[in-house]
């Protein structure tokens, strides 16, 4: 099938790398990435909040970039590498941000937490963490209706500080 063929409303084959594993899938053009993850692949860690790109609960990493999965069509993810909250822990050990969220009590109901953590993973890579104000501004795409923002910023600052520390020690 040529790349530009009209494929109609039938399913389309795609290949993605999902949490480190290659997956060959058949998706309908109308299926969003969020619905693919939750309804077809049983990866329910990624949450559906507003479903309109306004709350950030559905945030996942696509090729390392934080993206609202509710506004992405699954069919357009062919060839991409996607990391969800389920893919952050390594060898049975929590990602440092997951541990920091627990340590700092950075949630109440927990519904926004997977999106907050995926967003924060990318935030730290982007480097917009030089002040609490900057962290807050660059986490503005993730709403927390319980209002755990103060502790969320604490958790992120903690991980940022711990990442800096070894570098400083090495410099000494």
């Amino acid at each position: 099938m040529p790349a530009h063929a009209i494929v109609g409303t039938q399913t389309v084959p795609i290949e993605i790398t999902l949490n480190g594993k290659r997956r060959s899938l058949e998706v309908s053009p109308v299926t969003t990435l969020l619905d693919l993850l939750r309804n077809h692949l049983d990866l329910t860690g990624t949450k559906k909040g507003c479903d309109h790109g306004q709350c950030g609960a559905c945030t996942v990493l696509i090729d390392g970039q934080r993206i609202n999965s509710c506004l992405q069509l699954a069919v357009m993810q062919d060839g991409k590498s996607i990391t969800t909250i389920e893919g952050l822990a390594q060898d049975g050990r929590l990602h440092p941000l997951q541990a920091a969220f627990i340590e700092h009590d950075a949630f109440q109901c927990g519904y926004c937490t997977p999106g907050q953590i995926c967003s924060a993973v990318a935030l730290i890579e982007e480097g917009h963490t030089t002040s609490r104000e900057e962290i807050r501004e660059f986490m503005s795409g993730n709403l927390c209706r319980c209002g755990a923002y103060t502790n969320i910023v604490d958790a992120i600052e903690d991980v940022v500080g711990r990442r800096r520390q070894p570098v400083q020690e090495a410099a000494e």
Binding site: P2, A3, H4, A5, I6, V7, G8, T9, V12, P29, V30, T32, D51, H52, G53, G56, T59, Q65, R66, I67, N68, L71, Q72, L73, V75, M76, S119, A122, L123, E126, H128, S131, E133, E134, R136, E137, F138, M139, S140, G141
Partner: protein, 341 residues
């Protein structure tokens, strides 16, 4: 979401052909606005043309004319963080960072930002009439809830605003848009791209059927504003909200006098609002409050409020003064520390 055909284009020519073959097809790239509108049933295309695999729509490159070419697919964040943009066209970087969220800026593209639709509540609500969504059905924003709506250039058919921050900076910088279509390529001045609503509010811009944005071109002369600029955005909450009023101000000041000026407003009209008379009023003057006030008066001439947004006229006037003051002082508004200096 209504079902649609999916077409993955492998070249600009292929995309143009697909658009011509299916007149109600829509181009999809970042998806941040179109997919949302499809979920609401506001957009119901029978086909989507995915242009994200077209390599020629990528990249930020120096042009032969000495400016920059930003490919239509370049994400908003990539533009805002590009070193050449930050050094030569910092107003653009600042405006982009004033809008949306990191997640949306990662996905939203340059071309898509231009073509995003209004966030008028009635346009989004398919239970209500809307001349932009259904021509001839009426405009409930006139006489309805209209806090976000236009105070300039509106018509009896539509008082919607264009929601982009990026476009306000592009208007001020005098960008051009390169499009490709069934009749070949052409360049459109930014001022001529978006439309005022008039009696055809369903048409947001002057793109013709089958045409696709290839790139946005930043002219070299706009680099003269790199030292004196500010993007000041006022809104109901400090992050992730559309502008009530925003101002892109850019000055070229030499020996204490303004030799060139650009001024554009967001959140007040169906397109970024610029008026050359207002900019001309600044040229030759010292960068002082009297000159700024004269420019504000010119730019806001004819402004008319509605039930819930008359306050925007005075807000805009004051924001113009403040943004020009920030630009003159060389202290642009921070998009992280939201205190207005």
């Amino acid at each position: 979401m209504k079902r649609f055909s999916y077409h993955r284009a492998d070249s600009v020519a292929d995309a143009v052909q697909a658009l011509c073959a299916t007149p109600d097809a829509r181009i999809v790239a970042g998806g941040t606005n179109l997919v949302d509108l499809m979920k609401y049933g506001v957009e119901t295309p029978s086909a989507l043309v995915d242009v994200t695999r077209i390599a020629s729509l990528n990249g930020i490159d120096d042009t032969d004319e000495g400016g920059l070419r930003i490919g239509a697919l370049v994400p908003n964040r990539t533009v805002a963080e590009d070193e050449r943009v930050a050094a030569r066209f910092p107003l653009l970087a600042s405006a982009i960072l004033a809008g949306a969220t990191p997640q949306l800026r990662n996905a939203a593209t340059t071309g898509g930002n231009l073509n995003q639709r209004t966030r008028c509540y009635y346009f989004y609500d398919t239970k209500t009439p809307c001349n932009k969504r259904e021509p001839g059905s009426g405009c409930p924003a006139i006489g309805g809830v209209n806090r976000l709506h236009a105070i300039l250039g509106a018509s009896e058919h539509c008082i919607a605003t264009h929601p982009s921050d990026m476009c306000v900076a592009l208007a001020a910088l005098g960008a051009e848009i390169r499009v490709e279509g069934p009749n070949g390529p052409r360049r459109i001045r930014f001022a001529d791209y978006h439309r005022l609503p008039g009696d055809a509010p369903e048409r947001d811009n002057t793109l013709q059927p089958g045409e696709i944005i290839e790139a946005v071109l930043l002219p070299p002369e706009a680099e003269a504003f790199a030292g004196h600029h500010s993007y000041l955005k006022l809104r109901d909450r400090l992050s992730y909200a559309f502008a009530l009023v925003s101002v892109a101000a850019a000055l070229d000041i030499r020996e204490g006098r303004i030799v060139a000026a650009r001024l554009a407003l967001g959140g007040v009209a169906h397109k970024p609002w610029r008026r050359e008379e207002a900019e001309a009023a600044l040229v030759g003057s010292p960068a002082d409050e009297a000159a700024f006030a004269a420019a504000a008066t010119q730019l806001l001439e004819g402004a008319q409020g509605h039930e819930h947004n008359t306050f925007k006229i005075e807000l805009a006037r004051r924001a113009i003064l403040r943004a020009l003051g920030q630009a003159a002082a060389g202290t642009p508004q921070s998009q992280t520390d939201k205190r207005i200096a």
